[in-house]
């Protein structure tokens, strides 16, 4: 997995900031008895938690756009793009993305302390 360089304090602040209603991401949790359940995601923390669900669905184009445009984390956006382009199942992509985003989350939290 691509290593993410240490973020600047400014970037860390942006990454950790909660998302507004308009900038939220909407994922879907699939379940055989419940169908596709929309889930609003308002922070990186929430996205990481969401991706822990085995049947989480997140549009990877939306995720890249969010990293690039909403939090201006171009390195993260590039890393997401690399995972999205990989020849892997949606489940495995999700797990890799979760680890990637969790890494970024910890980097940013460490810097913001």
């Amino acid at each position: 997995m691509r290593r993410l360089p240490k973020p600047s304090p400014e970037l860390a602040r942006q990454v950790l900031a909660p998302l507004s209603f308009k900038r939220r991401l909407v994922g879907h949790r699939l379940h055989p008895r419940l169908g596709a359940i929309p889930v609003s995601l308002y922070s990186l923390d929430e996205i990481v938690a969401f991706l822990s669900d085995v049947y989480a669905q997140l549009d990877l184009d939306d995720l890249q756009a969010w990293a690039r445009d909403s939090i201006a984390d171009h390195e993260l956006a590039a890393a997401i793009s690399a995972v999205a382009a990989s020849d892997s199942s949606p489940f495995n992509k999700n797990q890799r993305l979760r680890m990637l985003l969790e890494t970024r989350l910890h980097q940013c939290r460490k810097i913001s302390l």
């Binding site: 507004s20 209603f21 939220r24 909407v26 994922g27 879907h28 949790r29 699939l30 379940h31 055989p32 008895r33 419940l34 169908g35 596709a36 929309p38 889930v39 609003s40 308002y42 923390d45 929430e46 990481v48 938690a49 969401f50 822990s52 085995v54 049947y55 669905q57 549009d59 892997s88 199942s89 949606p90 489940f91 495995n92 797990q95 890799r96 979760r98 680890m99 969790e102 890494t103 910890h106």
Partner: protein, 722 residues
Amino acid sequence: MYGHTGKILRVNLSTAKVSDLATKNYESWVGGHGMGSAIFRDLARDKTIGPFDEGNVVTIMTSPLTGTLAPGGASRTEMQGIGAQSSPIGWFTRSNVGGRFGAMLKYAGWDGIVIEGKASVPVWLDIRNDDVKIREAGRLWGLDTWETQRQIWKQVTGGADWAEVETEKGRGRTTQKPAVLAIGPAGENRCRIAAVIHDAGNAAGQGGFGAVWGSKNLKAISVIGTQSVSIADPKALLEARAWAQKNFTLDVDDPAAMTGSRSVMGNIQFRSLSSFGSAPVPAVFWPRSMPHRPQACVGCPAGCRTRTASGLGNESSCAETAIYTVFDFKKNAGPLTHLLNRIAERAMGDLGVMVVGMFSKKPRDNSYKATDLAQRLGINAFELFKGIPYMRDLYKMGALGPGKSIACDLDFDDLGSLDFARKLLHAIAHREGIGDDVADGFYRAAGKWGRLDEDLASGLLPYPYWGLPDHYDPRFQVEWGYGSVMGDRDINEHGLNMLFWMPTAAQIFGIKPFMSAEEAVGAFTEKMEPYAGDPLMLDYSEDNMYSAHVAKTVAWHRRYTRFWKQSALFCDYLFPDFMNAASADKRGLTGVAEPKFLNAVTGGDLSFAGGIELGRKIWNLDNAIWTLQGRTRDLVRFAPYIHRTPLRGTALVPGRVNGKWAYINAKGRKVSEEKFEQWKTNFYELEGWDPKTGWPTRKTLAALGLPAVADELDAAGKMGKD
């Protein structure tokens, strides 16, 4: 007919009169929903009344299978009457509850209960075999559903571990507790999203029957019985059970059987959906697993819920267990997941990551406790499941909160905590603050807040029909949406969902689907009598989703479920079983099993197709009642977001591409408003209803043996044109 006890308990709460109806007068409907609809039509003189009118009639019906050993068919109880939840009209509707109530009712000698009128003071109904008393419930009023049951158990058994009950032949003894249906504060306060609860987690949730009971001052019905169910051919029933087990169930004691499509990975395609051949996986969605054992309703092999070592979340399943899961997890998941992932990936690669993904969640029990609280207060969990995220979005939008246009003093930053759950659920059940708005359902609350049009247009409020929450989206699971809007409620019938779940789950994990699209369509449609052999019924492509073929799909589904699931009362968890990982040819037992079990019990010779035809009669009777209530074709509409916003997320369903079958992705799809209108015409014509109004016609009703229903429609000026 064998399987019946011969009498239906009739209780008029206004006059305190207890009498009975002869089951034989309704025997042609077999049981459950069919009987309930027929009794409602006979006894509810004015069908245009509201849910809280004294004239509303509530039926609680069993089937011949109830209390027997028919797998997945022995425990369901069907509740009907004019509901409080739907909009713009509280439709004549249904709900259904499992557990042991229906079986105990049969053991007490009753095929069902009919509740009429309204008590002047709170009461509960005490049934001990033939001895039936209406008792004052002043002491119980205000208690939650669990405490109500405890008090009743204590009173009926005298605190002993067994009970002695009078029978016709003397005295009977049982170690069983009475089976109790009860409402909580939500029902007492006429919350339109109030449920009727039985034991810890069985709920008749949809329809708002908790509120209807509350309006009748009916707190609970308790039943204890010491008799049994007469079965026409006990040997045939046991042989049918052995046949199902041998040919259609997974042998969990045989490791060699757990390979290929029957392995853990293969079973992902069957988990929690209708199949006897699935591994026994409880349908619970807690953020973490606690030590537990499976728990099942009477006579059922599935064990779709759990009893936990902690005692939390007992008997709740499905959406009930998901109302707080996301928020609990969001608030409480920690860095442990990250650490475990790193270790697991290094040690086991992708497999390690997957295992951690499934199990490495930080222990919290808020979601269990929130669910238990909803059951105790008697609130319909499915409304909470869809409505709490809606409230959170409004809060994030800045529309809801302290000093906002929607005044609310709840701290949504604390969502996921137990304190938040307690405050919200108590506010709803007791109609306090914002809870007073939500108590009437999130659809009505959105209307009160002035947000209904905007949020139904965007889909922020995912309520596609009749003011009721979305379940399976009509933009891909077509028959679910069409069937719901043509009926009275979210159908909550999972019989055809495997056609979505099986390929979609396979795609998620990068494994081969259990069946190709063409194979799957064949396996399903070969059983769909009287339309068997038309594969286009299950072509979910946009080119076909408005066709006469799909009208047949919806008609078949309405008929199958009205009879086999809601009247014979086979459980949705196991029936219909079209596709089965444990059977030699991948085909399930549907088509053969249903009549095999029913006929063994009744001694009749009803065929599978005969049951579906009886389902058509029941479906027509229901449509006649809705017509009398005010249903017209123009009312049958989806919320605007179904037509205007594209489906997000991947949903694979079978369909034809350039004439060849494939699993196609419905992502991005909308339902065309104009084409849906054409589909409605196709459907009405297929059913023999007037396409202009959607009303039944005399010709169709007469052919079904329902001339009196036609007369009633005629008298009301609501007869469709032939």
